[in-house]
């Protein structure tokens, strides 16, 4: 297959970027999108053009490293990560625009590589259960109903890729934050810190420059882990309740 690519090239975080034209030729239909870029890069190296820098690691849809906006959609057409997109989903001769994930809180570092450390800082602001290694009770000491455990797992499936924020017109990270708040908040082990957690994480999210949710549901549409946007409402309720408790001095 053959494709015309328009690829975002940007030298570093402080320089301006532009879309450059490249051709991808002799691409097998069974190649993944990233393998198509590998082929292009090998050709660019042959022509003394600096290869396109893009992130990827596990290439099996779970690590959340790959982060391309393809024809305007984070991770491109279909549901899944960029690495799980295969060229058979495109037509021969297609023009494909490739940009980095776009969100104010994800500055571009080079070409298609963005800085998503804001997500790490949000987790650091409360996305954990404080628990000392070695002090845990027996794992079956607290039964958790299958329904709750399954729901917590649905939320915990978030891979932290950032597609939600990149898809949102407001650059909101609320799907990401609500997934963690929901995962830990549903489980009995996570309840003691639930208020602190939601307050801490939401405030950090605001501080990082992510916008607010305005119910576009674009996040849900692109989420490779299928995290539902309904969690955002759940988080908002939890946040309101925790803020009130904080106001009257009930939260530590």
């Amino acid at each position: 297959m053959k494709f015309h690519l328009k690829v975002w090239r940007q030298k570093n975080s402080s320089s301006e970027g532009t879309l450059e034209d490249y051709t991808a030729e002799n691409v097998p239909a069974d190649a993944s999108f990233l393998e198509m870029l590998d082929i292009v890069n090998n050709n660019l190296t042959g022509k003394d053009v600096p290869p396109i820098q893009f992130d990827s690691d596990c290439r099996e849809g779970i690590c959340g490293t790959c982060s391309l906006t393809i024809n305007g959609i984070p991770h491109g057409p279909g549901r899944g990560t960029t690495c799980q997109l295969y060229m058979r989903n495109f037509r021969d001769g297609d023009t494909i625009t490739i940009e980095p994930f776009r969100a104010d809180a994800f500055p571009v570092q080079r070409d298609l590589v963005v800085d998503r450390s804001a997500f790490d800082r949000i987790i650091q602001a409360g996305g954990y259960i404080s628990e000392r290694s070695g002090s845990a009770p027996d794992a079956n000491a607290v039964p958790i109903s299958k329904t709750i455990a399954d729901k917590a797992m649905d939320a915990a499936a978030c891979i932290g890729c950032g597609a939600c924020a990149a898809a949102c017109p407001n650059g909101s990270a609320m799907l990401f934050v609500s997934a963690k708040v929901t995962h830990l908040g549903l489980l009995p082990q996570g309840k003691p810190e639930a208020d602190r957690r939601v307050l801490g994480m939401v405030r950090q999210m605001d501080k990082e420059g992510f916008g607010n949710c305005s119910n576009y549901y674009a996040c849900e549409a692109v989420c490779p882990a299928g995290v539902p946007a309904a969690y955002i409402g759940r988080m908002n309720r939890q946040y309101s309740a925790a803020s009130v408790k904080e106001m009257v001095g009930m939260t530590v």
């Binding site: 690691d57 849809g61 799980q84 290694s133 455990a149």
Partner: protein, 638 residues
């Protein structure tokens, strides 16, 4: 040179308790004075960093990924073993220990494996307390499933994403410590050298992958938790970035590399489809709980639609050859059986390199919904990659490189022969012998990080009071200078071949000669080929761009350069181990029915290799394996 494994004396099941009772403690006030470097943020690294920081140490943690949450432990699918015996099916610490020793074909160290089995239960407790959403039954209790090489159900799981959930648990603990200021995290930072001061590991040299800046960091001890070296094969189930550089650089500074030829070829992966391919995708071993593996009995049937091949014309070869374990035979044995079937011309799919993994019976028995619940994401992944629906048509699978049992040599303290250098998780060699059982990698990574190193590190640190060095020490300047020269050296080659082509060529050599079947002749040939390829690499590598800023080709070139040296060491180890055991199958040594033929009289030892300098043959140092409890026997899964 002799190796002191420092295994505590006393009966096997009391060793760890005795050890803990006598281990040196570091007081809280003194913990604050020690700085630790942890390289890697996977299960071993993140759990060690979180736990040691929680105890009061000052930790610096480094990873090459853009976030510690993305370490490759995240990709583990199936589960984690623990001797909880929640199923009341006869499991015990002893059985988990014995299964692991036997699964490793009696080439692992007894005492380490027993300790692993002992702490396994605490790991599950720990993870549940962290909020890991393990699968549960309706009554609210934890669910289990079976994995290869075991006749009990001791595997805990979180859908097909167990590694992800365990890693996110450890990452949450790590994040908490980062927030408290007790861990300083360095993402997108790659370790390029180990710094020794008076023979002790006192620091590392790293490259910031964003800016290209090369700096050094000093500490009182260094912990390498950098995973395995499967990517020496180019195609593997490892992430693209997985590499041998940290451990190999330490090896070149004097750390012994143990059993490098012990690699695991996982039986259930999606087959290779073309030469553009950048990685292979694993289909979790848990699928073998419900899937049945078969190939047509007759070559002529291989091209037919699988559903049109009647039951009588199918060969369920694992069930036939290993009736008591059936489709859950250990990985090395299952992989070899699949290869044999394909070598006989009975493989299916493109190139005849595939066998069927069929769920038709399970769907009939349990209904599609149950299968979907158990393995939905795996079926989806399979469809995405191959374009085929495995609910309707059996999956096609083929073995692929997955895990490496070899690694840096460590003693019972998890310390290498370099004082201060500790090695955890897949990066060390100690627990899995010549073959790892499924769901045991997660167990080992977390055991090392949460429950072993916090107890063993004190024995070293208490010898280090008043011996602090800082990064201004001449040894650091020297290492920094050498690293910078090496990076520049790669750029200065200015040849014609891109790094990718070298890596692919090396991978093919390794797969053909040091993969599922190995022979003296092939390995000798491979060593020559690797030496030539390495020469070509250093004269014809082409890199565009410099050492400043993000340059992923440069990162890869450094890793491939190390693989090109390491691959030779692997082949040398495979050549020297003139027996078959576990995943190491020497075609010269097999039983009449094609099973691995061990030679305990001559090869019941750990091969630890000492680097002797550029271009010199490494020296073999043997650590004899002494079995106090079990009697090595011929492994039978029949």
């Amino acid at each position: 040179m002799t190796l002191e494994s420092n295994i505590p004396v006393g009966p096997l099941d009391k060793k760890w308790t005795t050890y803990k009772n006598n281990a040196k403690l570091v007081s809280p006030a003194n913990k604050r004075k020690f700085e630790l470097i942890i390289v890697g943020s996977g299960l071993a690294g993140a759990s060690a960093a979180a736990t040691l920081a929680e105890q009061g140490y000052n930790v610096k943690c480094f990873c090459y990924q853009d976030s510690p949450r993305r370490a490759h432990s995240i990709a583990a699918q199936g589960g984690i073993n623990a001797a909880k015996n929640y199923q009341n099916d006869g499991d015990s610490v002893y059985r988990l220990f014995y299964d692991t020793i036997k699964g490793g074909d009696f080439r692992a160290r007894e005492a380490n494996v027993h300790r692993l089995a002992e702490v396994s239960s605490s790991i599950i407790d720990q993870c549940v307390a962290q909020g890991v959403p393990f699968a549960r039954e309706y009554g609210g209790l934890l669910d289990n499933r079976s994995f290869g090489g075991a006749q009990v159900s001791r595997t805990f799981y979180a859908r097909g994403q167990t590694g992800q959930q365990l890693l996110l648990g450890a990452y949450a603990g790590l994040s908490h410590q980062i927030a408290l200021g007790s861990v300083k995290m360095f993402p997108r930072t790659e370790m390029l050298d180990l710094v020794l001061v008076d023979g002790h590991a006192k620091g590392i040299v790293v490259r910031d992958l964003n800016t290209g800046e090369i700096t050094s960091h000093a500490a009182d001890a260094v912990l390498l938790c950098t995973g395995g070296y499967g990517n020496v094969f180019y195609l593997s189930t490892n992430a693209r970035g997985c590499n041998v550089t940290a451990t190999f650089r330490a090896h070149k500074r004097g750390a012994l590399f143990a059993n490098p030829c012990f690699t695991q070829i996982h039986p259930t992966c999606i087959p290779v489809s073309g030469d553009y391919q950048s990685k292979l995708t694993l289909m979790s071993e848990s699928l073998r709980n419900d899937g049945r593996i078969w190939v047509p009995k007759r070559k002529e049937d291989c091209g037919k639609e699988p559903s049109s091949i009647p039951e009588a014309d199918r060969d369920y070869f694992l069930e036939r050859k290993y009736p008591s374990y059936g489709n859950l035979a250990p990985r090395d044995i299952s992989s070899r059986s699949a290869k044999e079937a394909c070598d006989e011309g009975r493989g299916v799919g493109p190139g005849g390199l595939g066998v069927y993994l069929d769920f038709a019976d399970a769907i009939k028995r349990l209904g599609q919904k149950t299968i979907e619940e158990r393995y939905g994401n795996l079926f989806e992944m399979y469809q995405n990659i191959t374009g085929e629906n495995a609910y309707e048509r059996p999956m096609r699978i083929y073995p692929a490189v997955h895990y490496t049992m070899g690694g840096l040599w460590v003693d019972y303290n998890l310390m290498s022969n370099i004082p201060g250098l500790h090695v955890l998780g897949e990066a060390n060699f100690s627990d899995h012998g010549a073959n790892r059982l499924g769901a045991s990698a997660l167990m080992q990574g977390l055991a090392d990080g949460y429950f072993v190193i916090p107890y063993t590190l004190g024995n070293y640190l208490t010898t280090q009071f008043g011996k602090k060095v800082d990064a201004n020490h001449p040894a650091f300047e020297q290492a920094l200078k050498e690293t910078k020269a090496r990076v520049q050296g790669l750029i200065d080659i200015k040849g014609k071949r891109p790094v990718d082509s070298f890596h692919r060529e090396l991978g093919l050599i390794m797969w053909d000669y040091c993969g599922m079947a190995r022979s003296a002749q092939g390995l000798t040939e491979a060593i020559g080929k690797i030496q030539n390829l390495r020469k070509e690499f250093w004269s014809d590598l082409k890199l565009i761009g410099g050492a400043d800023g993000i340059n992923m080709e440069l990162e890869r070139a450094g890793r491939v350069a190390d693989f090109l040296e390491f691959g030779e060491l692997m082949c040398l180890d495979a050549l020297t181990r003139d027996e078959s055991c576990g995943g190491h199958f020497r075609t010269e040594h097999q039983t009449p029915d094609g099973e691995a033929l061990r030679d305990d009289d001559q090869y019941s030892f750990v091969s630890a290799w000492k680097h002797e300098g550029e271009g010199q043959t490494p020296t073999l140092v043997k650590e004899p394996l002494v079995y106090e409890q079990v009697k090595p026997s011929t492994r039978s899964y029949k």
